[in-house]
Amino acid sequence: MKDKFIPALIAGVATLILAFPLLGLNLVSDGLGLGIEGADTQTMIYIVLASLAVFIFQLFKENALNIAKNIPLPRRAYKPDAVVSQAQRDKNEKLFTFIIVAIALVWPFFASRGNVDLATLVLIYVMLGLGLNIVVGLAGLLDLGYVAFYAVGAYSYALLHQYFGLSFWVCLPLAGLMAASFGFVLGFPVLRLRGDYLAIVTLGFGEIIRILLNNWTHLTGGPNGIGSIPKPALFGLEFGRKAKEEGNIAFHEYFNIAYNSSYKVIFLYLLALLLVLFTIFVIRRLMRMPVGRAWEALREDEIACRSLGLNRTIIKLSAFTIGASFAGFAGAFFSAKQGFISPESFTFIESAIILAIVVLGGMGSQLGIILAAIAMTVLPELAREFQEYRMLMFGLMMVLMMIWRPQGLLPMKRRHMELTNA
């Protein structure tokens, strides 16, 4: 106890030193100059309490950690090796997926408009998370500028529509293609770099794209963004009150029913669901293809890969490019859903949130990512009164997760191919 007292005291005093000058003394402008005033008594009490809490925590850290360790958590969704075969796992998963998809399809017709809208946002993040997971989780490349590709996708649709009048359905593949080409052009030179250099360069690239969008005013509208981006139509049926494009008919007129704005919301949700299912399908295939194997092999041991004749640049580039293309799809859908985009939506924080989804979900696990995307999007909505503290908690959570469970909340056993009849 005694040998813990001094370090605990130091930690407590340090907390006081850290907190007091910034929380306890507030800078205020007084006319020409700058002055300070003490914070209210409540804040002061909080500072003292926080310091005491740190002191006491440090004193009893061992006991506290023991309790934390005993909190039961899903360590592995499946039992270790050979108890459940891969074939059986696949079967279980198929059934599970089927049920989930069925619920997801029916649910919006019974839910409130606001909830369906929120669910659509969740699906966008699921797509982004799955796409980034290819780069970070499978190929092991830390990309901190993923939002740049999201922005490229969003602006591709907005600009192609504005300048050439192209429809959403034409722009969707084009947006993916544009994002992929940006990924390719950036990736080609930088993928030779070591991991943390790559992280910083991608971060810098994300900033470059944002600065360009902000300043290239005559093309992108600068900080004012681009507005009145049309929603997608369903085989020429539009979901607005009146059809805007020539040759299109409004959905409710075609079916001769009363206009209801929730049709549009539900349609967007279903469209997002379709895109997510498509993403999941493609990525699962990729993981079992030679290129997917090569990504994982490269993450495991780059030198061994090179000794076996694998061209690491091409393989990393494929992960980077394919990952970027999914951000492009998500971006195009985002701008269609919002109807308005500006550089504000594509800051570094957005990249950090997507990264947090991948990490929280347990890098590499698709189900984990879906759950993490739900958690990251829905929790802040539920805790609206704490909006002010949202990013603070987010940063803290990232640190604590890395210390406590770096493998994520739901680390899945790797999917592997299985030799059955040998």
Partner: protein, 308 residues
């Protein structure tokens, strides 16, 4: 002709001023990288915090009635360095030590979390608006015709040069001559071996973060006085710039960080002057990418041999 060269000289002076503060921040990156091989992502926030604390200290001292400017600056420097160093120490304790030795990506993500946390902590504590402070050191020497363009070397710039020079010299001597400095070099060569020889590696790593934070606080004070304005978001870009400077000079090398900072500062000020100030960040990051491509070891860095 005279006017263009005076204009050029002015840009050069401005660039060197900014560059020398980049160098101060860059040293924090380079030292931490040299010792534990990780990017201290939260370092930019420490610089921002240093600037806030300087503002608080200057305002506080003025309100207490201290009027002698050098005394205000000196006490502010001590307070800001002390508190920022505590922040540096705490960042290492909370975000780095528990995840050290694991996957590098995990440490980097934890540091990103720390950076977001600190930024929002300051935002909540001090508000998200710009905070302006009247400039304390005014005036300077001008040269050039009275009726034309004059190049000015302000007293503030001189202060920045002198303080940076003294700090750098002090650091170089500390690393080269002192016992702790020798231990630092030993740990950066081979941490395991240094540990076996009885060097307390944990303490050296803490020390590295503390020194880095102290230099960032000096930069925070100097740039706070120079620009006279701050907000909670300045740390992110400044950190990215300083990291660029560290890579430019060769990460792990202290003279490299100094050179890198100066080169970057001058590049930026020239871009703003002759091209466009909106795109100066684009040019710096472009420079970073180019350097990493063609000379990944930076200007003064040593090449690494891949261990197979």
């Amino acid at each position: 002709m005279l006017e263009t060269s005076l204009y050029f000289i002015q840009q050069l002076l401005n660039g060197l001023t900014i560059g020398s503060t980049y160098a101060l921040i860059a040293i924090g990156y380079t030292m931490v990288y040299g010792i534990i091989g990780m990017i201290n992502f939260a370092h930019g926030e420490i610089y921002m915090i240093g600037m806030y604390i300087s503002f608080v200290a200057i305002s506080g001292l003025t309100m207490l009635g201290v009027e002698y400017l050098p005394l205000i600056l000196f006490i502010t420097l001590l307070i800001s360095v002390f508190i920022s160093s505590t922040y540096g120490w705490a960042v290492e304790r909370v975000a780095y030590r528990p995840v050290r030795g694991g996957n590098r990506l995990i440490a980097l993500i934890s540091a990103i979390g720390m950076s977001i946390f600190l930024q929002n902590y300051v935002r909540i504590a001090q508000g998200s608006r710009d905070i302006a402070m009247p400039s304390l050191i005014q005036g300077g020497w001008s040269m050039g015709p009275l009726d034309g363009f004059q190049a000015t070397l302000s007293y503030m710039q001189v202060v920045i040069f002198i303080v940076t020079f003294i700090t750098m010299t002090g650091l170089t001597f500390f690393i080269a001559k002192s016992r702790m400095g020798r231990a630092c070099r030993a740990v950066s060569e081979d941490m395991k071996m240094a540990g076996l020889l009885g060097i307390n590696t944990n303490r050296i790593i803490s020390l590295t973060f503390v020194i880095g934070a102290a230099l960032a606080a000096v930069a925070g004070l100097l740039l706070g006085l120079y620009y006279g304005v701050t907000n909670p978001y300045i740390g992110f870009i400044a950190g990215l710039k300083a990291f660029t400077a560290a890579v430019l000079g060769g990460i792990g090398s202290i003279p490299g960080a100094m050179l890198g900072g100066l080169v970057l500062g001058v590049t930026e000020s020239m871009t703003s002057a002759y091209f466009s100030s909106e795109y100066k960040d684009v040019v710096s990051f472009g420079l970073l990418i180019l350097i990493l491509l063609f000379r990944p070891t930076g200007l003064l860095g040593k090449p690494e041999v891949e261990k197979i």
